[in-house]
């Protein structure tokens, strides 16, 4: 939809602030640009609606070179939302939202209808707010108007430059949720600039990480987290962040790799000494090929004779995790697991590790202490 072909931006003082960007947004996707302050996010965005002219390369929208379009007409087809909101203070909310439709000479009835509809969409009661002036609204309400104004002429593309950056965390979250809801209904092509990684992960269909005017990686949140293509991406997104979010921690990072296993023909007596040796109170029972059969605990061994075979004592395993599972799956399961031990099996059903309450706890505890040492 929006396509950057080797686009660079050089300012008069010679500094190149955007370097040979290549990317293409898909229709209806919410693409987030993220990166440290000054890396060129805003510049990149403003080159799309020609608020900043690009120096090299080609930017096309639906195949048309933006350079060949009349900037005013180009911008009329692109919604624009900025952090400072920038409502017209001398116009009512209704007049603010209606401005572009009126400039486009819509019929007055259609304008009125559109304004009411959009106010509903962004969660502002038209009866209460249409006649008010911007300064009579809170910051969050003002930005709702900002979003409604950007949607007014029903553009296919919306550019948003840190639209929620100045709002308090609670309001920000509300507006993020609303944006996701609106987007799920309207499917605009949105380019969204932020430097809040949580916001990016929450909103982005894809996220482009920028540094020093270059786009380092453009990928889905999942892939960015699990497969950072660049050390900086990993660092910026924060390895710790990956671990903070149990959704993204592979179970293989948490499980104990060499669990104490034994085979069902062994006796209870052997099992007890085996447990002592391995300092554990549970044993996974596998067949000769490592396939999971059951589990015994020290408690089970108490009440039986030393010659009893494990095949008769072992219990079936209620909770098993595949090695593709995440920490979140483990966390959800562990509470309901009687012995607090979850075997992890590979695709062939072979036991490759175990997750215990202890291993989960120490894993996250380590992340916390690591994070502390990074921040201090």
């Amino acid at each position: 939809m929006i396509k950057f072909d080797n686009v660079s931006k050089r300012y008069g003082n010679g500094s190149v602030v955007v370097k040979s960007l290549n990317f293409e947004t898909q229709e209806g996707e919410l693409l987030v640009l993220i990166g440290p302050s000054g890396c060129g996010k805003t510049t990149t965005m403003k080159m799309i609606n020609r608020l900043v002219p690009h120096s090299e390369g080609r930017i096309t929208i639906g195949g048309k070179d933006v350079g060949s379009l009349d900037p005013v007409l180009l911008r009329r087809g692109i919604g624009y939302v900025i952090q400072q909101i920038g409502l017209f203070p001398h116009y009512t909310i209704e007049e603010n939202i209606a401005l572009i439709p009126r400039l486009n000479k819509w019929e007055e009835r259609a304008v009125k209808e559109r304004v009411r509809h959009l106010m509903d969409v962004v969660g502002l009661n038209p009866e209460a707010f249409a006649g008010r002036y911007p300064r009579e609204l809170s910051g969050g309400q003002q930005q709702r108007v900002g979003v409604a104004r950007a949607l007014a002429a029903n553009p296919d593309i919306i550019l948003m430059d840190e639209p929620f950056g100045a709002l308090d965390p609670l309001t920000r979250e509300q507006l993020q949720d609303e944006l996701l809801r609106i987007q799920s209904e309207m499917h605009k092509t949105v380019v969204f600039v932020t430097h809040d990684i949580d916001e990016a992960l929450k909103l982005g269909d894809r996220i482009g990480v920028m540094r020093d005017g270059a786009l380092l990686q453009l990928d889905t949140p999942d892939r960015l987290l699990t497969n950072p293509a660049h050390g900086f991406v990993e660092e910026f997104i924060g390895k710790k962040r990956i671990y903070q979010n149990p959704d993204y921690v592979p179970i293989t990072d948490i499980m104990r790799d060499h669990p104490a296993t034994t085979q069902p023909y062994r006796t209870a007596g052997m099992a007890v000494s085996f447990m002592r040796k391995h300092k554990t109170d549970t044993l996974i029972i596998t067949d000769g090929g490592g396939g999971l059969l059951g589990i015994v605990s020290a408690y089970d061994l108490h009440s039986v004779g030393g010659d009893e075979t494990l095949a008769r004592i072992m219990k079936p395993v209620a909770s098993v995790l595949a090695d593709t599972a995440t920490a979140k799956d483990a966390l959800k399961m562990i509470g309901k697991t009687p012995l607090g031990v979850i075997p992890v099996v590979d695709g062939g059903g072979k036991v490759v590790g175990v997750v215990t309450r202890g291993s989960l706890l120490s894993f996250f505890a380590n992340q916390w202490s690591e994070e502390d040492s990074i921040e201090k």
Binding site: L51, L74, I82, I85, G86, P89, H90, R149
Partner: protein, 215 residues
Amino acid sequence: MRSEPLWAQIVQQLNMRWPDLLQALLQHVQLVIVSMLIAAAVGIPLGVLITRARSLEAPVLGVAGILQTIPSLALLGFMIPLFGIGIKTAIAALFLYSLLPIIRNTVTGINNVDAATLEAARGMGMTDSQILLKVQFPLALNVIMAGIRTATVINVGTATLAAFIGGGGLGDFIFIGISRNIDALVLIGAVPAALLALLFDRLLGILEKATAPAG
């Protein structure tokens, strides 16, 4: 006559000269309004222009500033070779005097419009003239009106000097009163001039409030 109290003199002069006074008053108002209208007609566009062409700002404000520092009488004098004596010269001088506050306030008013508002306006596809007419000008209007108000009040006072170059107005009474040493005449010219200034101040004050942007 000399021995009569001042108020009696005033009553007597008024009795004798009220048609002249009325005419002088009208002439005075005319001087002020005409010169102000021209000053607004020139000063506001000039102010707008220099917000668009920043390089013009320093020279234009500089020249207008210098004009204002020239003593009023001297400026009137400078105008005589250009327009001769009479009302035209007076209007020209008053016009030049009033330019600075109008230009300066126009520039201030327009430059004070929030940058974010302008960026939003441009970003959503308003043309330069739409931005000027629908955003900048309405938001700057009351600051511009304040400039006009200041200029007008000064103008009412300065216009009394028009009499020195045959421009008429209430200055005629003051001028004759001084030269003939008749206090009552001076007062008959000066007091209405002062009241006129107050009146303009009041009226334009109301207008200024009315032009404050809504919201």
